[in-house]
């Protein structure tokens, strides 16, 4: 890795001449806070951080890095949950938060063009006055950047009905590992000119190129929404309810669940009035035309009741809806304060296998004597087993490793995926070969080598470079 070190102050001064002193950080007090992202128990110190304000500067930085064979790790707000934006030893951290302008809203074509550092929530806020809607709503939307969302193909609570980030990316500008700037995609709904290259970059976790502009699709803003909260004495009853709702061709925008342990923690922390015997709580939301949502809400309530729900509460108004939704919204907060370290997983299975994975996680917690609670997205099979532990306790962390490994194996056995919305990064890198066959895994490497032959963009994320020992 000798070539990967920034030793010459010459490099620092060249970076400084590109971005200016203000946007180049090299002092330890400035760098320490860039040594991690939102992932538990992972850190690596950065050597320098650049925060450019123009695409030209980004291209110049990448050209310089390519010439000197220095790794570049791109990051936004650093809220990632797989360690994808953790610095690489000896590399440059390219932080894009200063590229934060919305460049165009086109109500005729229902698109928005923005820079990568724009905050996700700001996109939907800017669309709202036009009666438009940007649906993907990852948990960190108040601070996550759209660049990071695209690079990780982030999901959110509305996945079942509205899809994920990928479904809204119509085009992008990318700085390639050579420093060249290229545009991919267009404002056209139909566009089959060549390979769909933009799709290669969605979810590429900063390993193929640096996204410097994003063209997003917007949709009409739903005019009404109805919220329901139902509790059940078994996960099976909840699952039957969800299946029946979908069988009746109702596609709610939100179908979220909490397991028994999460329910207890939420009740202890937020006192939202969940029944103590609840083994599963499901939050359901339907949005669209006012008369349709009323009808759908009534139908969902009836289905829950016919499947033996302990309680079914329908929101009377906006304030009541917020109160009902708070049971799900506070789930993570309620869990995160119990132990010093909170490890959030995001294995995903086909919807029909959700009950199996949730009960397997429960068993695994018992087997390894660990605190594991599960909540997540019932509608799309994406679950968040949350391990409450202490990273300084090596013995317990060993049990955590075993539990994680078992959960991953079970997920794959059920035809699922090791990550539904957080990405592979560093945290799930060891598990990826278990999910992929030899041929599909080597395809990943071939794509990487074709686009980034020097291997300077976020090396060691998703998979290790060919020829290097697996970590």
């Amino acid at each position: 890795m000798a070539s990967h070190r920034i030793e010459s102050s010459n490099l620092v001064s060249r970076l400084s001449s590109i971005v200016g002193k203000e946007d180049l950080l090299t002092e330890p007090e400035d760098l320490v806070p860039y040594g991690f992202d939102g992932t538990a128990a992972l850190k690596q110190s950065a050597v320098c951080v650049v925060t450019p304000r123009t695409v030209e500067a980004v291209a110049a930085i990448v050209s310089l890095a390519a010439a000197e064979n220095i790794p570049v790790v791109t990051r936004g707000s650093g809220t990632g949950l797989s360690g994808g934006s953790i610095p690489v030893d000896g590399g440059i951290v390219l932080c894009l938060v200063n590229l934060d302008e919305i460049l165009e809203i086109d109500p005729a074509n229902l698109t928005m063009l923005c820079q990568p550092g724009v905050i996700t929530k700001a996109i939907d806020d800017a669309a709202a006055p036009f009666g438009l809607f940007y649906p993907p709503d990852p948990g960190s939307m108040k601070i996550s950047t759209i660049g990071g969302n695209v690079a990780n193909n982030s999901g959110g609570l509305r996945g079942l009905k509205y899809g994920v980030t990928r479904d809204y990316v119509m085009g992008m500008e990318v700085v390639l590992p050579s420093g060249e700037v290229c545009w991919l995609g267009s404002k056209c709904v139909k566009d089959v000119a060549g390979y769909s290259m933009k799709d290669l970059f969605v979810g590429s976790e900063g390993t193929l190129g640096i996204i410097t502009k994003v063209l997003l699709k917007l949709v009409p803003r739903p005019k009404a929404r109805r919220t329901l909260l139902a509790s059940f004495d078994s996960m099976e009853a909840a699952a039957r309810t969800v299946s029946e709702i979908i069988e009746k061709q109702i596609i709610p925008c939100t179908l979220e669940f909490l397991d028994r342990k999460t329910c207890r923690c939420v009740e202890d922390y937020a006192k939202v009035g969940l029944p103590t015997e609840a083994a599963a709580v499901v939050l359901m939301e339907t949005d669209g035309h006012p008369s349709v949502v009323d009808e759908e809400a009534d139908a969902m309530a009836a289905i829950a009741e016919s499947n033996g729900a302990i309680t079914v509460e329908k929101a009377r108004d906006e304030a009541h809806a917020t109160k009902l939704a708070s049971a799900r919204r506070t789930a993570f907060s309620a869990l995160a304060r119990i132990r010093p370290t909170t490890i959030l997983e995001d294995v995903t299975v086909p919807r029909s296998r959700l009950v199996e994975i949730v009960s397997f996680v429960e068993e695994t917690g018992r087997k390894y004597d660990l605190d594991i609670a599960t909540f997540g997205h019932f509608g799309d099979g994406n679950v968040h087993p949350t391990i409450l532990t202490d990273e300084t306790d090596t013995e317990e962390m060993e049990r955590v490793e075993h539990a994680l490994s078992d959960i991953i194996d079970k997920t794959i056995e059920l035809g699922g995926t090791i990550t539904g919305e957080h990405g592979v990064g560093l945290a799930k890198k060891p598990f990826l070969p278990r999910q992929f066959s030899e041929a599909s895994f080597s395809l990943l490497r071939q794509v990487k080598v074709a686009l980034d032959p020097l291997g300077i963009l976020n090396p060691g994320k998703i998979f290790d470079p060919a020829g290097e020992a697996k970590s």
């Binding site: 950080l25 002092e27 330890p28 007090e29 400035d30 320490v32 806070p33 860039y34 040594g35 991690f36 992202d37 939102g38 538990a40 925060t51 707000s77 650093g78 809220t79 938060v97 200063n98 905050i119 960190s140 108040k142 601070i143 996550s144 993570f332 907060s333 995160a336 304060r337 010093p340 370290t341 909170t342 202490d390 990273e391 300084t392």
Partner: protein, 437 residues
């Protein structure tokens, strides 16, 4: 952790339970709430960045440096991050210990700074008689016409820059301080509760009328009010500025002034003090003579609006012919520091003749932040401007807030365009009008 460097031993952060720093899972949810991060977009200027620095120091990977010290003082201590934090990180404890560590290591030392710290922390805010004496002099300066003369003559240009910039924002000292307005014990018509009243330091000199109004509304609600004489600073100023030892002394001094067991509650009307007053047990946990009393104290300290709602205060009757457009600024140390947000609104909504309009970004810091407007005037000025712009948008002629620092900062920013007032003043006034009619 490999490669540990030899660093000077930690006095305050070394004592901290490591799980407090570890509780931060660096998710980043605090970032959009932090005024300094929003200003610079640099991680070190964010709560999780600062905690990362503290953790590095606790781990021995980083020493207590001047840059670390400056960072700790760039933080406003507004605690907006604690409201945003999903993991319940105890940021106030981290922040106070980190500042204490900065002072212990002397990394920000310079003679001028030392003098001002000595004058304020060791003298004026440790000896209330001295603060009152200085208050008297300032009052004389303000009422005698000297102040007018100084401002008109331009003689201030001879003064050092800091003083020159601060002079126009000097608070107006009142003629009578709290002890002259409130008797040591005052009795309601019928005693339902017994409470102690905290009169504060700045509040005592600048807003003794708020203290009087607090006593009035308490009496109206069946509270027997005990107000020990010449109480002085509660130590929040010391704790927020890295002097935990003197803060503990101030806490002990205050505890000695109240007969806790005979009181149902200790009432404060200053948000910044209240959020500190509720954590005396933290400060005195290692002092066996005081630890138990401090815990009881913490349970009994109540902000006035919190207490009023708790005892289901009497709503003033009567109608007003004219509605005064009023908005409410949430003092950081009330909403973030104490989680009190609905109670002041409940008090206000009970008052006839107020047309309440919601303030945009009501929970954003106004830049006062203790003495931040003196130590970091640029950042404080930006926040003051933003706050004033939001207030002006409401068209309100009256801004209600529950902290003397916010009161002065906002009034200075607004000039004559609207009046800033404490909620108990309005409630006391409503009770008074009720009697007149």
């Amino acid at each position: 952790m490999s490669g540990k460097k030899a660093v000077a031993p930690l006095k305050y952060m070394g004592d901290l339970d490591y799980s407090v720093v570890q509780q931060c899972m660096h998710c980043g949810m605090c970032l959009p709430s932090c005024p300094t991060y929003l200003e610079t977009k640099k991680e070190r200027n964010s709560p999780r960045g600062r905690i990362a620095l503290m953790r590095s120091i606790a781990d021995g990977d980083l020493s207590v440096t001047k840059a670390f010290g400056e960072e700790m003082y760039y933080c406003l201590g507004c605690l907006a991050c604690t409201t945003a934090c999903p993991a319940g990180v105890n940021y106030p404890e981290l922040f106070e210990n980190a500042r204490a560590e900065v002072e212990y290591h002397g990394v920000l030392f310079n003679p001028e700074r030392r003098f001002w710290r000595w004058l304020t922390l060791n003298q004026l805010f440790s000896k209330h008689w001295m603060l009152k004496a200085m208050g008297r002099l300032l009052w004389l300066y303000q009422v005698s016409g000297v102040c007018w003369l100084v401002r008109k003559s331009g003689v201030l240009w001879l003064a050092p820059k800091n003083l020159r910039e601060l002079e126009p924002s000097t608070p107006v000292i009142q003629r009578h301080f709290s002890d002259e307005l409130i008797r040591e014990q005052e009795d309601p018509a019928e005693v339902k509760y017994r409470v102690g009243l905290l009169t504060g330091c700045v509040q005592d000199l600048v807003f003794p009328d708020v203290n009087r109004a607090t006593a009035d509304v308490l009496l109206e609600n069946g509270c027997e009010v005990t107000t020990p004489r010449s109480q002085g600073c509660c130590g929040s100023l010391h704790a927020h500025n890295g002097d935990l030892d003197q803060a503990a002394d101030r806490a002990r001094a205050l505890l000695d002034r109240f007969d806790l067991s005979s009181l149902d509650a200790i009432i404060t009307n200053a948000a910044g003090c209240g959020s500190h007053l509720k954590h005396f047990s933290n400060l005195l946990k290692k002092d066996p003579a005081y630890a138990d009393r401090a815990a009881e104290w913490d349970r009994k300290v109540k902000d006035i609006s919190e207490w009023l709602v708790e005892i289901d205060f009497r709503k003033p009757s009567g109608v007003s012919d004219e509605a005064v457009k009023t908005t409410y600024h949430e003092a950081c140390h009330l909403c973030h520091g104490q989680g009190i947000s609905s109670q002041p609104r409940e008090v206000l909504s009970s008052i006839p003749g107020l047309e309440m309009v919601e303030l945009e970004n009501a929970t954003h810091c106004c830049g006062s932040a203790g003495i931040y407007n003196i130590t970091q005037p640029d950042q404080a000025g930006k926040l003051q401007k933003e706050k004033v712009a939001c207030i002006e948008k409401t068209g309100a002629s009256q801004v209600v807030t529950s902290n003397p620092g916010c009161h002065l900062q906002i009034q200075n920013g607004l000039g004559d365009s609207a009046e800033v007032i404490h909620p108990v003043r309005l409630l006391a006034e409503a009770y008074r009008k009720e009697k007149q009619s």
